[in-house]
Amino acid sequence: MDAFTPTALLSLPGWGSFLLTVLTIAGIYSLLTLGLNIHYGYTGLINFGHVAFFAAGAYTAALLTVPPPAQVSGAEYVFGLNLPMPLGLPISLVAAAVVGGLLATLIGATSVRLGSHYLAVATFALAGIFGSVLENEAWLTNGSFGLNSVPKPGRAAMSADTWAVTYFVFVVVVLVVVAFVLSRLTGSPFGRLLKGVRESEDAAQMLGKNTIRVKLTSFAIGGAVAGLAGGLYAHYVGSVVVQQFVPAVTFTVWAALLLGGVASNTGAVFGAFLLVGFRESTRFLTNIYDSLLASLPTVAADALRLAVEPLPDHASFVPSLRFVVIGLLIVLVIRYRPEGVFGDPNEIDAIGEED
């Protein structure tokens, strides 16, 4: 592939454009995973509602930048601030992060005193309520139509392919910066405090630490990162609809975190890329099948066909299997390598404690 020569970059060949989309989405998921890593990896908080922070960030960015309802056909929402691009972009992203952090603090405040399972259930339930609100309060979110005119910053100024590359680079830059900040944070005394709370909250309290505040801060930070991811997402896809923000996102991020390595930022990013790569690669199963059929000798090809024959023929077969694999990943990782690929086994023992 010659995708790396400068001229080719500006008009990407087929594969390049597709890969770039996948990589950009993987970058966004990496941010989500980094956020969850702060919650679970470093602080031991089981957050099953992560997608809510993602949604909050995306909707905030959208609301700040979509045109006012009068300009959009069929709009039911009440405000769109229509901040201009590209100047509005930093504002939009910062706001997205702030709102994500606020929502996380709110959700955290209600459940941070709870033991681990209850925290899981509470975060799950609260995310569910938040999702219902997003769907029903059409005056705010345009209901199930979604906000579809989110501007893509700088899109008008360059060709589609150039913009795709630029935005990808932008996402990578944000990712690197965030990862850097987070690793400084977790390496600092505050980071050790987080881990201390994770290992034994009682001990931390005895040492005079306000564990509630520590947990809330952790919630806020992770939520802000997730909100930022939401903002990046909104300006990339240009369309924010509630169907995007389902529990499957939360648990895909969990799978990414567990696989990549708890309490390891490298692991988090790795896990995210792997999971997104896996999901997108399953689009090619039929291509692989066809090329196998075409390239294998007839006997083998017929055998392959026969082997595949009894499988159900409905269209959701492969997509469903994708989720089976994600579930299997979670189960297998927890069982056989709970520290994930990049994690440290010692960190894991620490999380196994009962509250």
């Binding site: 990407l12 060949p13 087929g14 594969w15 390049g16 454009s17 597709f18 989309t21 996948v22 989405i25 056909s73 069929g74 769907e135 029903n136 209901g143 199930s144 139509f145 979604g146 579809n148 589609a160 896809v237 240009g238 924010v240 609809v241 169907q243 995007q244 389902v246 792997l274 790569g277 896996f278 997108e280 690669s281 689009r283 090619f284 199963l285 039929t286 291509n287 692989i288 099948y289 066809d290 090329s291 059929l293 075409a294 066909r305 595949v308 024959e309 499988l311 159900p312 023929d313 409905h314 269209a315 959701s316 077969f317 492969v318 997509p319 469903s320 990943l329 056989y336 390598r337 690929v341």
Partner: protein, 445 residues
């Protein structure tokens, strides 16, 4: 143990990526199928066994960009068999310029980000010549892609009013805008001549809270009031709920003569059952998801007797010439089950796209997306020779004629925004099956 598992995961992913690289798009000569390519229903006909492909080189890929997982997976499931059927027909007629067509499925999952990567795969990796799909939910996310890459898409499902003023160059649809549908419902209710029951003076409105349904709400409501009626109650119900007792109660309290119900088949069944069990005596007016045989099979008889429904035209000409029935038979024979919602739209969409490709090839042009896009309107709009299916159209093209494709949904004449008008049929359930009570031509709306 752990290392082995990791290795498997890593190797598996690498292998998949590597193989994907090798396959390089659409080199194979067979029709790409869903899942693992099972040929269960269509036998082996859907897979052109490489032999035909030999004559002209690489197959031409056509993308099917629809949800195949998640809440709207049924849309993909409904449309895919019809597209396969037509693809087979095209290949049996010698393909396009001697090359076979093959379908490439891409799952949008009903989510914008997935639809983005799915569309990119189709456009950039598979180099499809055209696309069938997507749905209203994901249309906004990928609309720009089609414009930028000049890829013709014909969607059989997206009735969203957000397309009313967009499209027409590359984006076409064989399903009328919900704005028209809504108006038709209102008109039909207000005029006995269309519903054969009475001039309804008041109605209640129950609309599911998903965009596909909400798109109807304003048109119905505003039109009904414009035509002099009263809307006694309008309720948005959350789709996929377990029960709808309170919504039903709210509606019943307003004592409507008829309730217009815009929702999915499953939700509609629940609502109508709940209303029946709560003692509702009024009539119902349902929409496309319900004016199907499947709905009548699944809904209890007590609730469906005499109800009214909208259908995007059993286009009269098609009905009279027996094409609808022939279509139903053909789909049943091909796929093992009767055509479902959007099947007819898919038929028209696929035929249009196929004929546009054929025209491009016969004119000696290369089969590239922009070239095909340029011919979509040509084959569908009048004047010229009227054809109603691909085979006739293909031979007409070979004879050098221009075409005017008339479909099952309507005459399929794309306006400047790529929309079609179609007459609407007002249906009524009599003796357990849907019969047509009247039609409303587009001029009345």
């Amino acid at each position: 143990m752990k290392q082995r598992r990791e290795f498997l995961v890593g190797a598996g992913t690498a292998a998949i990526a590597g193989l994907a690289g090798c396959s390089g798009g659409s080199g194979s000569g067979s029709t790409t199928e869903s899942g693992e390519g099972t040929t269960a229903t269509g036998g082996d006909e859907t897979t052109t066994s490489g032999g035909d492909g030999g004559s002209g080189g690489d197959a031409i890929p056509i993308g099917v960009l629809l949800p195949f997982s998640g809440e709207y997976a049924w849309v993909g499931e409904n449309v895919l068999p019809v597209t396969r059927m037509i693809a087979q027909e095209i290949n049996e007629q010698g393909g396009i310029g001697g090359r076979d067509v093959t379908l490439v499925q891409a799952d949008t999952e009903g989510s914008p980000s997935a639809s983005l990567s799915a569309a990119k795969k189709l456009i950039n990796v598979e180099n499809v010549a055209g696309i069938i799909g997507p749905t209203s939910i994901t249309m906004s996310a990928v609309f720009d892609l089609f414009q930028e890459n000049q890829v013709p898409i014909v969607t059989p499902t997206a009735g969203t009013t957000s397309l009313d003023d967009r499209g027409g160059e590359y984006v076409f649809r064989t399903v009328p805008s919900d704005a028209l549908g809504g108006r038709a419902i209102a008109k039909a209710l207000r005029n006995q001549q269309y519903n054969t029951v009475t001039d309804y003076s008041n109605m209640a409105l129950m609309v599911g809270n998903k965009e596909v349904f909400q798109s109807f709400k304003s048109p119905i409501r505003e039109s009904f009031e414009e035509f002099g009626g009263t809307v006694t109650e309008a309720v948005d119900f959350k789709t996929g709920k377990a029960s709808y007792e309170s919504e039903v109660q709210t509606v019943m309290n307003s004592e409507p003569e008829v309730t217009v119900l815009v929702g999915s088949k499953d939700d509609s069944i629940k609502i109508m059952r709940a209303a029946y069990q709560a003692g509702y005596e009024g009539n119902w007016y349902v929409t496309q998801d319900q004016t199907t045989d499947v709905f009548l099979e699944e809904a209890p008889e007590q609730v469906t007797g005499g109800i009214l429904g909208l259908q995007s035209a059993t286009y009269q000409a098609a009905e009279e010439e027996g094409r609808i029935e022939a279509f139903q038979q053909r789909v049943t024979d091909f796929s093992g089950s009767k055509p479902k919602l959007f099947a007819r739209n898919a038929y028209d969409a696929m035929n249009t796209l196929g004929l546009a490709m054929k025209t491009t090839a016969t004119a000696g042009d290369e089969i590239t997306p922009p070239n095909v896009a340029g011919n979509v309107r040509t084959v569908a709009n009048p004047p010229e020779t009227v054809v109603t299916n691909y085979t006739d159209g293909a031979s007409a093209i070979d004879d050098g004629s221009d075409l005017d494709y008339r479909g099952l949904v309507g005459p399929i004449d794309f306006d400047e925004d790529g929309d079609v008008g179609s007459p609407f049929a007002i249906m009524r359930v009599e003796e357990g099956s849907w019969t047509q009570a009247a039609t409303i031509p587009p001029s009345e709306l």
